[in-house]
Symmetry: C3
Subunit: 283 residues, 3 copies
Amino acid sequence: MSDSSTNIDLVTFLSDFGRNGGGYVAACEAVIASIAPGVRVLHLSHEVGVGDVGWGSRELARVAPLCPRAVHLAVVDPGVGTERRPLVLVTGRGDRLVGPDNGLLVPGAEALGGLMEAWLLEPDRVRKRAGLPETGVSHTFHGRDIFAPAAALLALGVPASAIGRPFDITALERPRKTVFEATPHSLTAEVIEIDRFGNVGLSARFDDCVFPTTSVRVELVGEDLPVWNARVVDTFGRLLSGELGVYRDSWGQVALALNGASAAQLLSLSIGRIIRIELEETV
Amino acid sequence: MSDSSTNIDLVTFLSDFGRNGGGYVAACEAVIASIAPGVRVLHLSHEVGVGDVGWGSRELARVAPLCPRAVHLAVVDPGVGTERRPLVLVTGRGDRLVGPDNGLLVPGAEALGGLMEAWLLEPDRVRKRAGLPETGVSHTFHGRDIFAPAAALLALGVPASAIGRPFDITALERPRKTVFEATPHSLTAEVIEIDRFGNVGLSARFDDCVFPTTSVRVELVGEDLPVWNARVVDTFGRLLSGELGVYRDSWGQVALALNGASAAQLLSLSIGRIIRIELEETV
Amino acid sequence: MSDSSTNIDLVTFLSDFGRNGGGYVAACEAVIASIAPGVRVLHLSHEVGVGDVGWGSRELARVAPLCPRAVHLAVVDPGVGTERRPLVLVTGRGDRLVGPDNGLLVPGAEALGGLMEAWLLEPDRVRKRAGLPETGVSHTFHGRDIFAPAAALLALGVPASAIGRPFDITALERPRKTVFEATPHSLTAEVIEIDRFGNVGLSARFDDCVFPTTSVRVELVGEDLPVWNARVVDTFGRLLSGELGVYRDSWGQVALALNGASAAQLLSLSIGRIIRIELEETV
């Protein structure tokens, strides 16, 4: 197994810690600065939905490929302190991903030239190598105590083999599949994202769908709510005031938007809701 | 036209993207890190009001002059994907500003030693020079696809002429003027800012107003609401509990505050509301 | 008094400024970048409760020891513009802490190898040394006008004696003591922290308490509210759905949690509320 390493100047960091209390984000960044002072930290997001591994995995897989070769530290970890495994993944591009084995890291690795190797982190070896007391691992904050030190060491060029042992790639946890069903007449998908503008991202690649007309209908599955007429457009800037639009968002997903207002609010949507888009022209 | 450039170590970044979803901020920073790995990114704000070009332009013009010479990347861009132009401005200090031609950049350039040159970005040349596929421009995320790459190239010392063509400064869009009217007896201005402390910034320079007494009255224009007595003070720390104060804020604007509580909440204010301050002593 | 200094590559920054308006955080970071361009800024938090000096002091004392030697800039400053003193503290580890004399800095200094020296900042000397106009000090934003310039100078190796005069350590303001009372039968403490997960940190070190059984009762002091049964566990991942847990959090404090839900919401808690935990087994 090839595990040769060289210095990596960049650590990215994604979590569901939030920025409003607890000091969790700063604690991890401080640990990295102590172990690897010259390494830059690029914060991807700390506002991933609490414990929402799917959200975290999608945001990581989306942004990581835009970075240069990096160590990607990702901690959305509802199982901290239980039996879930701590991981390092190595990608075809030479990136490292560090975090819990709950599906969070795999899509990111696949988007970075492919998942080539997996290593099970050994906390004692991580902490010893980082010069930390071996007894200092908390039950509830492995970000600070295991993952951030491991990320810093990997950035310094320490090989994964020095802080972990090989793990079978096929035995890794995978994230839950999202809802997606496309027929010639309709598209059923899940709300996977709502941004600050109220734009609603769905679990469907635009290029996997056929929109034969620009006029469609949008409804919430399982709800006795009104059906919305919508127009397929290339950007929300083309929509009239109050008109609902369906478009290919900047990540290639099918998305819903209004022009200058919140589509999420108009349709009372939240993450995880199921949407059906009827593709036939309303006759 | 002088367009000589040297490396600039700092890119600042302002937007209305928010930090809570979409990965927009991180995507732009990742693009910059890929193209110009040694350049530091200083985040000005990503919580500018959604699509509020005036807010963004004021925050940029306020903070940019405190920075060393920099490339200022600013994206508040409700017209993305439509005909609005992508710009680079060059200032008297040698800074570069990158963003949409909707008024966002002009006040910042004027505060940085003056607006000296304008260039119209040519997306194909930007992307080619940055080593990006020329076909990859989305309709809705020019921050990632055009502006961030352009900012990174400018930081590397690439001249604006290599990625754009000259544009007439007098043809640039300007931001909407805010309400401001001062008479010997009253001041009428617009709420342009509410900070975390509930302090309320108005669209009036303190030095453009005359406060002949320390006792004034504050009212909302067009509202049948109570009039508030207020006192002109040098800092909110001088106010009694519950007493409304008028003061010169740290940016030189007229502002309203309470001591240890929110003036915005007391007066039910939001951005854009019009305030009148009666300057005469209540007799 | 020993005041020898060398360059320090890292400035940390904590405040209650928030990120949503005012440009306060960015203004301070811009000032630092102007004076000390090579110094890295690590943001600890800017979401400390408004004017909550105790919160700020605890978050600083918690995270600062995880950093390498640094200048710690901390601004939670409800008394800005009044008589409160501007300070530099020097620690046993060689760190510097910069901020107002209101108790904010002292616990941090004590956690960094001990509080060794205190210096009273002289604003005129700070600004002159930083190349800033001496008349430019606002009444309401000493973060930008005094503290950030001082932090940048200290990072450059300027000795505290060059910008301030010695101050008696025993005369420093101290933060308010939090509620803590432990008897063999009960523990009374204050809510000092609520994180994004709804976990509730109390003003009690876990190791200062004796939990003779794993079954305890939790109640709010002075409220006619139901008493909650809770279980002492090592991590929230061990709790059943809906079961309240008491545990040693990752900072060594006694804390309350649910598994996958918010304990703060369940108990309607906010910062400052007093909690009693009855330690005896419910018979």
